[in-house]
């Protein structure tokens, strides 16, 4: 069985960094030395590899990042690195797009690293559905804060747990957007059991959310890594522009 941390390191090099570089060139072409992109990251609170690699590549600056870790022990650890603002809690319980949310004044960001695999989410009931709901809330927040474009990195563990297509649609459609007719997921079966289909669904939802919130997709790419025969670490990277 491969360690998630090792697989995450591969994702950083093979997917996250190339897409962040491309986003940096697209959004801040005139910034030569350092793109100074603002990063929001769901991080593991242990080694902060994604931040140091983005920093090494002159895409973000130490002290300017917004970190979210899953608990207070990790928050103490994260604060010792002086990487920026450190927040903690259960990301799936956070009401992200409300004005009172602690994230609100810290947005918009240029890179959204929504790595749910870093958050010790032990819920096995509708976990991916909840994560997709949060992804949408973050896109809403970016829109509310008038972001013209950003890099979205979305990572999750795909395992034997089924995904309910209608649940995904119902939750998304409850968040209204003018002129939007609802999430069209009819190409998927009501219960999505195969890992390949789950990954296709995650990608499709991201594409549809871009349409819903009036972002164009400048580039989209994805990668999956086998944790074992039943579980995969799936990562999707999208550059959204308006």
């Amino acid at each position: 069985m491969a360690e998630i941390d090792t697989l995450r390191d591969q994702l950083i090099e093979e997917l996250w960094l190339p897409m962040a570089r491309e986003g940096g060139a697209r959004f801040y072409n005139s910034r030569r030395k350092n793109k100074q992109m603002k990063l929001f990251t769901l991080t593991d609170g242990i080694n902060f590899k994604e931040i140091s690699r983005l920093e090494d590549n002159n895409l973000v600056q130490r002290g300017d990042c917004v970190l979210w870790v899953s608990n207070m022990i990790k928050a103490v650890r994260a604060e010792t690195e002086a990487l920026g603002v450190v927040l903690n809690g259960s990301i799936c319980d956070e009401l992200i797009s409300t004005a009172t949310c602690q994230l609100n004044p810290l947005f918009p960001c240029d890179i959204l690293n929504l790595d749910f695999s870093s958050q010790d989410i032990y819920v096995n009931n509708s976990r991916i559905e909840k994560e997709l709901e949060k992804v949408e809330s973050f896109i809403v927040l970016q829109g509310q804060k008038r972001s013209k474009g950003f890099v979205l990195l979305q990572t999750t563990v795909v395992n034997s747990e089924d995904i309910s297509r209608d649940n995904v649609k119902r939750v998304s459609d409850a968040m209204q957007s003018s002129g939007w007719g609802g999430l069209a997921l009819d190409a998927f079966p009501p219960t999505i059991s195969s890992n390949t289909q789950k990954m296709d669904l995650i990608k499709k939802v991201a594409e549809l959310l871009c349409q819903k919130y009036k972002y164009n997709i400048f580039k989209i790419s994805s990668l999956s890594k086998d944790i074992n025969t039943q579980q995969q670490l799936y990562s999707l990277a999208v550059i959204l522009v308006r």
Binding site: M72, I73, V76, S90
Partner: protein, 254 residues
């Protein structure tokens, strides 16, 4: 000094800096060599405050979040001080943890008093917000139901623990950190053991007070998180009394 250079420190500061660096390293290592498994268990125990915070913040807002964060930090710092062999300070942090939780329960239903307390108004000067002899808690039905099931008064235990911990706050002779053998803090098995036992007791009382004082919130945690809280409480009598007095439906052994 823009860049920190230890060799450029003034004489006494340098002596203190060097000795504290060495003490910190040695005491952490000596403590963990003998107790790393126990410390890991304590860190798992205090992680329960993440669970409480997630629930209480949703209902009571940022004040509950702040009080729970402080509670966590008091418990975390108690472990930190114990690992540094600073047993007196480790006990002081435990009393702070206990006090903060008692306040949290009281303020959860007293928002006006909370504001007075935050504003440092004279109203609470020289007295505990929860009243003499833990009066406030004595009037809570769930606390009284628990008393019947547990066969004893929880707040007698809380009072006894508070009194013990207060000796460290007020520097009673028995709580002195210096000994006849020396002044520098060093790992002492017996002192660590005494602190460890009290630490576990405080977590038991704190989580029981939260479960009873905020019983509706405890019930809303769901079975998985209720089990986690009960595991931290540990004491079989307390767990059974909580399950019976609050009518918890948790199947199997907890």
């Amino acid at each position: 000094m823009k860049t920190f250079k230890a060799e450029r420190l003034p004489k006494l500061t340098k002596i203190m800096y060097d000795s504290q660096q060495r003490l910190s390293k040695n005491n952490w290592e000596d403590t963990l060599k003998a107790n790393h498994r126990e410390i890991e268990k304590l860190l798992v125990m205090v992680s329960i405050f993440d669970t409480w915070r997630n629930t209480l913040e949703r209902k009571y807002g940022t004040s509950a979040r702040d009080l729970i964060k402080e509670t966590f930090m008091d418990s975390y710092m108690s472990i930190y001080f114990a690992c540094m062999s600073l047993y007196k300070q480790a006990h002081v942090s435990l009393r702070a943890e206990l006090e903060t939780v008692l306040r949290l329960v009281y303020f959860s239903s007293h928002p006006i008093e909370l504001k007075w307390w935050k504003d440092d108004k004279a109203f609470f000067k020289g007295k505990h917000v929860w009243g003499d002899n833990y009066d406030y808690f004595m009037h809570l039905d769930d606390v009284n139901n628990f008393k019947g099931k547990a066969g004893g008064e929880l707040f007698d235990k809380v009072r006894a623990m508070y009194t013990t911990l207060s000796k460290y706050v007020h520097s009673n002779f028995s709580s002195f950190q210096t000994t006849i053998q020396g002044v520098a803090p060093a790992y002492k098995k017996a002192e660590f053991g005494k602190w460890l036992s009290r630490f576990k007791d405080v977590q038991k009382y704190v989580n029981t007070v939260l479960a009873l004082g905020l019983s509706e919130d405890f019930k809303s945690l769901g079975v998985v998180n209720q089990r986690k809280v009960l595991k931290v409480i540990g004491d079989a009598t307390y767990k059974r009394a909580l399950k019976q007095s609050l009518g918890l439906i948790i199947r199997g052994r907890v």
